[in-house]
């Protein structure tokens, strides 16, 4: 995608391809400036004005179509990129839902929790009677393991703890039975014990509902816990992807290796930060975006951005060293 900024056109997301199967969690790892939130917003059609999106995002039956197609729908599948605002509104919340990092700022502070969930339900299913909507709200809250659901529904966000607010967000996201859930750092702002509960809940829901989940985080420990497959994002591109265990235990891209070496663990070890900082999208290096910070760089690295190369099986890394 492209975004026009005062400094010129930038590509927060550049040639990202992902595949998420029903019931699968794909983790997207990235730091600030990696493009991870932009990617999520692009899938939901929530980008700022002036953003132009290219490519395809197929929602529905198994994988993307073989040939590139500009038709918005094909068989039971929809290309989210091609949809107009009206169609997107039908998809958002109903087929693709999103939960965010800071539940306190994502929830409407002047609406009761139940009412916010009801709002989404009514938007997608306008014919329901009030009692039916209420029933759905309670069911959604119970599914999100909110105790005393009926009482909680009547409370305002500020009366709820961080963990409960996140459960309300989850209830709201799942109320209309979406097939894909995009979770953008959903547990980063939560205490570690609450985080564990929320991750367990998301796991259960994913299995029980056959939900596909795109889990965005900068925390490698969390991604190891939740994802079957992982994609690592740097300066708008996927630099490594594959089965989670593979990528996290035998990383092949120097950035992934750097992230792991820089992550504190429970055993005291030698923390090795990655020198330098993430490049500004307006000032990307000419070749591989990571090259200036890479301890393993070669002459060819500054020449051009490498393709994703297969390491083995489904594991691939965008590096000349592979």
């Amino acid at each position: 995608m492209e975004l026009a900024t005062a400094a010129g056109v930038v590509r927060p997301v550049d040639g990202v391809s992902l595949r998420i199967a029903a019931g699968e969690t794909v983790g997207l790892v990235g730091e600030s400036g990696s493009g991870k939130t932009m990617l999520a917003l692009a899938l939901m059609g929530l980008l700022p004005d002036g953003a132009r999106v290219g490519g395809e995002a197929w929602l529905g039956a198994e994988g993307a179509a073989g040939g590139a197609s500009s038709a918005p729908t094909e068989g039971g599948k929809k290309n989210l990129v091609g949809l107009g605002e009206r169609e997107l509104r039908a998809v958002r919340g109903r087929e693709v839902a999103m939960i965010f990092q800071e539940p306190m700022t994502s929830l409407n502070p002047v609406m009761r929790a139940g009412e916010q969930i009801a709002e989404g339900i009514r938007a997608h299913e306008p014919g329901l009677q009030r009692a039916e909507v209420r029933g759905r709200v309670i069911a959604a809250l119970e599914r999100a393991a909110v105790p005393e659901a009926a009482e909680r529904a009547r409370q305002y966000p500020h009366q709820l703890s961080g963990g409960l607010r996140q459960r309300v967000m989850i209830a709201m996201a799942l109320a209309c039975g979406p097939r894909l859930l995009i979770a953008d750092e959903p547990t980063t702002a939560l205490d570690v014990t609450v985080q564990r509960q929320i991750l367990d809940l998301l796991d259960e829901l994913r299995r029980g509902l056959g939900l596909g989940m795109l889990f965005i985080t900068h925390d490698l420990g969390v991604v190891a816990r939740v994802a079957e497959r992982v994609a690592v994002l740097y300066a708008g591109r996927i630099v490594e992807e594959g089965p989670a265990r593979e990528v996290l235990e035998r990383p092949r891209h120097p950035y992934t290796q750097g992230l792991l070496a820089a992550s504190p663990r429970m055993e005291r070890g030698k923390l090795e930060p990655i020198p330098g900082t993430v490049p500004r999208l307006t000032a990307l290096p000419p070749g591989c975006a990571f090259e200036p910070r890479c301890s393993q760089r070669r002459a060819e690295c500054a020449a051009g951005m490498p393709e994703l190369r297969v390491v083995g099986g489904e594991h691939a890394a965008r590096c000349v060293l592979v």
């Binding site: 730091e31 600030s32 961080g162 205490d191 570690v192 014990t193 609450v194 985080q195 564990r196 991750l199 900068h218 925390d219 490698l220 420990g221 969390v222 991604v223 190891a224 816990r225 939740v226 750097g258 992230l259 820089a262 992550s263 504190p264 663990r265 429970m266 055993e267 005291r268 070890g269 923390l271 090795e272 930060p273 990655i274 900082t277 993430v278």
Partner: protein
């Protein structure tokens, strides 16, 4: 008994707040104990981490140590002097020996002051007789120590990234050469690789300048990295305290075990 090695000694520190309150509150003045009787010693040169979840009182405790909030009860001695009772000039003199690094790199720097003024402000207050030129020299030197260029002095906070702002906050905290630094979640708001840089910087500065750290954090892996001793706090009290490796590897208290087990990708997972 104050020993030569203890920089800080805290006994039975308490702080409570009125719960609810206001004209429409029911139930009278129920009180809520934010810190409910905390005691510990901090030896020179060590790093004591206070770890706990939100609401446990760790930040309130840190602020009481710095006299930013007044305790309701208890004793505090800093380098043998009565910290809790100090006032006026005595307090001023003690204050410059202890400084704080804050969590939020975006909220802790005055957006309307240039970096040079921000880092120089403690000098302007505590060493007012210092000539402007000399003050600027010291600011430049400190900025260099934390990995920033001297030209940063002329710029404003918004021109810097989160990691750089944390470095500025550290420079400001160290410009007076304090003995004790209270760091309140200094890397929580930072990305992994940036946080690692800041942690390493804090460790280097500690050995270079002989600093003693009181390190507040909710993150056990970060604490494992930096602490010599750990105190686990819950509901205003310490439930366990000991050598970092021991508490994290062989926790005794049920709550500590729960915290350790909850670390994703950690031992418990």
């Amino acid at each position: 008994m104050a020993t030569a090695e203890n920089l800080l000694e805290v006994r039975g520190l308490k702080k409570s707040y009125a719960r609810g309150g206001g004209v429409f509150a029911e139930g009278g003045g129920a009180r809520f104990a934010a810190v409910d009787g905390v005691s510990f010693d901090l030896a020179r040169g060590e790093t004591l981490a206070i770890v706990g979840e939100s609401g446990c009182g760790k930040t309130t405790l840190a602020r009481m140590v710095l006299r930013l909030i007044e305790a309701d009860a208890g004793e505090m001695r800093f380098a043998g002097e009565n910290l809790r009772a100090a006032g006026g000039e005595k307090l001023r003199a003690l204050r410059r020996r202890m400084q704080m690094v804050f969590q939020d790199p975006f909220a802790s720097l005055n957006p309307r002051m240039r970096i040079g003024e921000i880092v120089g402000e403690p000098l302007a207050i505590h060493e007012a007789r210092l000539a402007r030129g000399e003050r600027d020299e010291r600011v430049a030197a400190m900025l260099g120590r934390v990995g920033l260029e001297a030209d940063a002095m002329r710029r404003y906070a918004h021109e810097f990234s989160g990691g750089q702002r944390q470095r500025i906050g550290i420079a400001r905290a160290l410009i007076l050469r304090p003995e004790l630094v209270v760091a309140d979640e200094p890397v929580s708001a930072l990305d992994v690789s940036v946080g690692a840089q800041v942690l390493l910087l804090l460790q280097e500065l500690q050995s270079e300048l002989g600093l003693t750290y009181l390190f507040i954090s909710h993150s056990l892996p970060v604490v494992a990295q930096i602490a010599t001793r750990v105190a686990v706090m819950r509901a205003g009290r310490f439930v366990e305290m000991g050598a970092a490796e021991k508490v994290l590897a062989r926790p005794e208290h049920a709550y500590t075990r729960e915290l350790v087990a909850a670390v994703p990708g950690g031992r418990g997972a």
